[in-house]
């Protein structure tokens, strides 16, 4: 599997990372280098093997869907890049 420049641009778009056209050749080389190297996994027979999600030391716990540390609105908003009163502000996206 080898990535072409169009695929590099598409991945960057999916990842929402802006790239310049001049970045594409270097990224293409690096990503292809890594992907070529991980191809070694094709040597491994994984027929019938269950995929490992997490490390399996404990079953995932659930808890009631309730607020456990409420009344901290100001703390939640304290790192917002831009805010007005008790709100996040975002750029206008609908004309």
């Amino acid at each position: 599997m080898s990535l072409d420049p169009a695929t590099v641009r598409r991945i960057a778009r999916l990842a929402r990372i802006g790239i310049d056209e001049s970045d594409v050749p270097a990224l293409q080389g690096e990503l292809n280098g890594i992907l070529g190297w991980v191809e070694q996994l094709n040597e491994v027979d994984v027929e019938g093997v269950t995929p490992m999600v997490g490390t399996g030391h404990a079953a995932l716990r659930t808890r009631p869907d309730v607020v456990t540390d409420g009344n901290c609105r100001d703390a939640v908003l304290s790192n917002a890049p831009d805010g007005v009163g008790p709100f996040y502000t975002v750029p206008k996206v609908v004309e």
Binding site: M1, R16, G33, I34, L41, G54, H57, S78, A80
Partner: protein, 494 residues
């Protein structure tokens, strides 16, 4: 002995015996930071004023005879742990102004036990790296020097600032996080002890996420006993981390010096890999002899999927990172860069906020999770991960602990390794498999190589059996008598 050369265990007894005060102890460290940090860059943020206030309170607690295990002990905190009211950057521009309004569970536990935080230590950006050269706040210099050579060496990564701070006497101990070797490899490069606990042993709540199924917090210190003392405080069940495991935390210090008679130590054949330097091979052989002399039975074992650990890691970790780092969008937090459209704003924000290694891993992860490639890469890697864990499970039916090298070479110089990402990834070849399997593992310094740099050996244990690591590690430590200290350190700078 200088206050910056003491172990945590000795400092805690010295404080109780009133040989020195917590203020004196903490001030010795904050002065050392002021003198050496401009060169070593081990700390991103220093907190001398807060630390001295906390030290005064510690002295009051000591005067009342109410000291806890870490009362008055100056620690460095990897800048990946959220600390209430103290800037937490993950060594990234995107979080350079982030001040958490809450405390991570691990740091809250250390504060509960009286620890004094002297600053936030440098790391690879979002913990992605093996040399501490990807930090947005600049590289960390390893306090060790090669014989007769002043070249600046890397401290390893990602917990390179923590390792350098502890080695140089700028903290008595420090927290690290380990995703694929980020505690053990820098511990080996800097001649200190570092322990990655079993996945689920220490809470991940409030630790900035890189790859959630792998990330685990652990202690870094100058002795095995000090790691036991720190782990005692850091470990424990936490409801706020859904992967935290609810099982009893044993008395870790009790494991130090425990008899090893009859303990079965496995030597995995596959760790005699290409690229293993001759001096590390020799140190490994020496370690085997020391453990044999301590009464252990040495058993050859095989972990056949070892060679696939790294490739599996570089699919699984980027996949999880691309998902975890999606939250840095410039809307809720992160430094916002304006754009004409919403997508343009996201793209500009994330381009400006993330360095090249982080961007590369996010893109790798996005690709392996994307439609059409998920099965070929991500699902395949998850299956190989099962086989890697199975190797360990089978080995631990025959042996109690495994002994391997920690890293294939000693510390290298800044800029000495090629720009090829795959070459850089190979530094973690011996640490990644235990991470993939979630097993606890520890690095212990055992000697100096031909160029005068520290060499570490790795112990890997059964899940939740950190005690065997500590017992075996203390035997190695005692046999090695590792009392070497780096050229650049607080005591030498006076």
């Amino acid at each position: 002995m200088s206050l910056t050369e003491l172990t945590i265990a000795d400092a805690a007894s010295g404080l109780r015996a009133r040989k020195f005060s917590a203020v004196e102890l903490v001030r010795a460290h904050t002065d050392a930071i002021a003198a050496l940090n401009p060169r070593l860059n081990a700390y991103i943020t220093t907190t001398a004023d807060g630390a001295l206030k906390a030290a005064q309170q510690a002295d009051e607690v000591l005067a009342k005879g109410e000291a806890r295990s870490l009362t008055g002990i100056p620690l460095g905190i990897k800048d990946l742990f959220c600390t209430n009211g103290v800037r937490t950057t993950a060594a990234s521009n995107i979080l350079k102004n982030f001040v958490p309004p809450y405390e991570s569970t691990v740091t809250a536990n250390l504060l509960r036990d009286g620890a004094v935080f002297v600053g936030k230590t440098n790391l690879d950006e979002f913990a992605m790296g093996s040399a501490n050269i990807t930090s947005a706040f600049g590289p960390v210099e390893n306090p060790w020097k090669r014989n007769g050579d002043d070249a600046a060496l890397v401290p390893g990564g990602s917990s390179g600032g923590s390792a350098a701070a502890v080695a140089a006497g700028l903290a008595m101990g420090a927290t690290g996080t380990d995703t694929g070797g980020s505690i053990r490899q820098p511990a080996a490069y800097c001649g200190i002890v570092g322990l990655k606990p079993t996945y689920g042993r220490c809470s991940r709540f409030g630790t900035i996420a890189y790859a959630s199924s792998l990330d685990q917090a652990g202690p870094m210190a100058r002795s095995v006993r000090d790691c036991a003392i720190m782990l005692q405080s850091m470990a424990g069940f936490d409801e706020r981390d859904s992967t935290s495991v609810n099982c009893d935390v044993p008395d870790y210090s009790a494991a130090i010096g425990r008899s090893l008679k009859g303990l079965k130590v496995g030597i995995p054949a596959e760790y005699r890999a290409e690229g293993l330097s001759a001096e590390i091979e020799t140190a490994w052989q020496q370690g085997i002899e020391w453990l044999r002399a301590a009464g252990c039975e040495i058993v050859d074992v095989s972990l056949p999927h070892t060679k696939y650990g790294l490739a599996t890691y570089y699919i699984v970790a980027p996949a999880e990172c691309s998902s975890n780092l999606a939250r840095y969008d410039g809307l809720r937090f992160g430094e916002r860069v304006p754009g004409e459209t919403l997508d343009a704003m996201y793209e500009a924000t994330r381009r400006a906020g993330f360095g090249p290694e982080v961007r590369r891993r996010i893109m790798m992860g996005t690709y392996v999770l994307s439609a059409g490639y998920y099965d070929a890469y991500y699902l395949k890697a998850q299956k190989v991960r099962t086989l890697i864990r199975r190797d360990f499970t089978e080995a631990f039916q025959k042996v109690d602990v495994l002994l391997t090298p920690t890293a294939p070479t000693p510390a290298f110089a800044q800029g000495e390794q090629s720009d090829d990402p795959v070459q850089m990834y190979l530094n973690d070849i011996f640490t990644v498999p235990a991470s993939m399997a979630g097993m606890p593992a520890m690095s212990v310094p055992v000697g100096l190589g031909a160029t005068g740099l520290p060499l570490g050996l790795q112990l890997i244990g059964r899940p939740f059996d950190e005690e065997t690591l500590l017992a075996t590690g203390s035997a190695l430590e005692q046999a090695a008598g590792f009392t070497h200290r780096p050229a650049i350190r607080a005591e030498a700078a006076k």
